[in-house]
């Protein structure tokens, strides 16, 4: 199994001047006595985006779940500010927003109710307003009062991504954020990502799309080639 942490564009020398950062050290994952990846290392400084790449079944989603502390790696650890995240999960989770494969929104609630719930469960942005967030996500106004299970898959994905704008999270972990989104939606997510990076945030994402993030430092992490 090969893992590489290859810098993509040339702006790699941009320094992080000591701000919070995340790193994976010596990560390995085995399933059914078979290593999916071994000795995986990466690190991310403020303002950087990490794109995890690999074919289907190469462990991209599991890698993101390890990053969130949901799955325990077989070996290695994730460090936040140089300390193992398991030592202080609460502080780490206050800085983390995760949009996984499953959208994590309730079908029986309206988009507004879902976002309000997200706000009350974690550390919200001060200026976060659910209605404005939905507007920013270009969700038609009539959707505000429609239950989420009546929305289209792409609209539900937008509501799920709304969590990123409701929370004051430094690190975004996004599993296939472009799934089910139309070109307009994909562009919107790219804008959100570059805005987040320019504010000094970090993001780790998996996608098979070619991401076009202007002015951002995008690093690549190749799994299982």
């Amino acid at each position: 199994m090969i893992m590489s942490d290859t810098p993509k564009p040339a702006e790699m020398n941009h320094s992080s001047n000591g701000s919070p950062w995340i790193e994976g050290v010596g990560l390995a994952l085995s399933r059914n006595d078979r290593y999916i990846f071994t000795d995986l290392n990466f690190s991310l400084a403020a303002g950087q985006i990490l794109q995890v790449e690999g074919h289907n079944g190469s462990g991209k989603t599991t890698m993101l779940r390890i990053l969130c502390g949901l799955t325990l790696p077989s070996e290695g650890e994730i460090r936040w500010c140089g300390e193992d995240i398991r030592k202080n999960l609460a502080e780490y989770y206050a800085q983390l927003a995760y949009v996984g494969h499953a959208p994590g929104i309730k079908g029986e609630l309206t988009p507004l109710e879902n976002l309000e719930l997200a706000r009350s469960m974690s550390r919200p942005r001060k200026e976060a307003d659910a209605e404005q967030v939905l507007e920013r996500l270009q969700l038609p106004a009539y959707c505000d009062d429609v239950l989420c299970h009546n929305l289209s898959a792409g609209q539900r994905r937008r509501v799920a991504l709304g969590r990123l704008l409701m929370l004051d999270a430094r690190l975004w972990v996004l599993d296939e954020p472009f799934t089910a989104l139309d070109p307009g939606g994909r562009k919107l997510v790219e804008e959100l990502l570059s805005g987040h990076a320019q504010e000094g945030g970090m993001a780790v994402l998996t996608t098979h799309h070619v991401v076009n993030l202007e002015g951002c430092i995008v690093r690549g992490l190749q799994l299982g080639t």
Partner: protein, 227 residues
């Protein structure tokens, strides 16, 4: 940190679960209907002798309550697991056992509390004397929260498994038995004019124990299930 307080998170989660139950009324009524049907079928299936019914009433009502609780347990984490909300719950900065407790409280309010309202009516149907009504309510008030609390551990352990229903029954039924024995015995003894302080104290201590430990165990089980 401008973090939403734990109190806000607890109340929001409780409110969310109650709202979801309200929007899923039919599903919520299922276990209650089951409770009523099982109890009301007994007089039809057995000899409708008032004395016989009075004798079996405590046991019948409690067995039905226990089965109704089992029936409603599976839904505690199922939909949250399926739609990814459970992952989000694990990723909040708040202590997971307390958030889990909010879900357990919601579950009890939805499936345990209505049993307390229905039980006196069903008691009268089975010719349960008025001296047994208070003990029946007291045992249900102390016992049904224990069922929700202990049940949550089993549900958390089996939520990731396909067809975990059978395993869930095997896991938690043995733990429900003490509640059943002491509660039904208390109601029966009260009918015979005996003192039931001992049984109530035992149920109370079971409740205290489950209240203190079950959320911790459930939180740990959820982390394992989602691993």
């Amino acid at each position: 940190m401008s973090e939403a307080s734990l109190g806000t998170a607890f109340i929001s989660l409780l409110r969310r679960d109650l709202m979801l139950a309200y929007r899923h009324r039919a599903q919520m009524l299922n276990p209650l209907l089951f409770f009523v049907i099982v109890v009301s079928l007994f007089p039809l299936g057995l000899d409708p002798d008032p004395d016989l019914l009075r004798t079996i009433a405590p046991g019948v009502i409690w067995v039905a309550a226990l089965l109704a609780a089992m029936l409603s347990l599976d839904s505690m984490f199922r939909s949250d697991f399926d739609d990814g909300s459970l992952e989000q719950l694990l990723l909040t900065p708040h202590p997971l056992p307390l958030l889990v407790l909010a879900k357990i409280v919601a579950h009890w309010l939805i499936s345990g509390l209505p049993l307390l309202v229905l039980a006196p009516v069903l008691g009268m149907l089975l010719n349960l004397g008025s001296e047994s009504l208070f003990p029946l309510l007291a045992t249900l008030a102390l016992g049904t929260p224990v069922l929700s609390l202990i049940g949550s551990i089993g549900v958390a352990l089996t939520v990731g498994l396909r067809g975990g229903g059978v395993l869930l029954s095997l896991l938690i039924l043995p733990l429900f038995i003490p509640v059943l024995i002491f509660a039904a015995n208390a109601v029966g003894n009260a009918g015979a004019g005996m003192d039931i302080t001992g049984q109530l104290a035992f149920l109370g201590s079971l409740l205290a124990l489950a209240f203190a430990l079950a959320p911790l165990a459930t939180a740990a089980a959820l982390r394992i299930s989602l691993n």
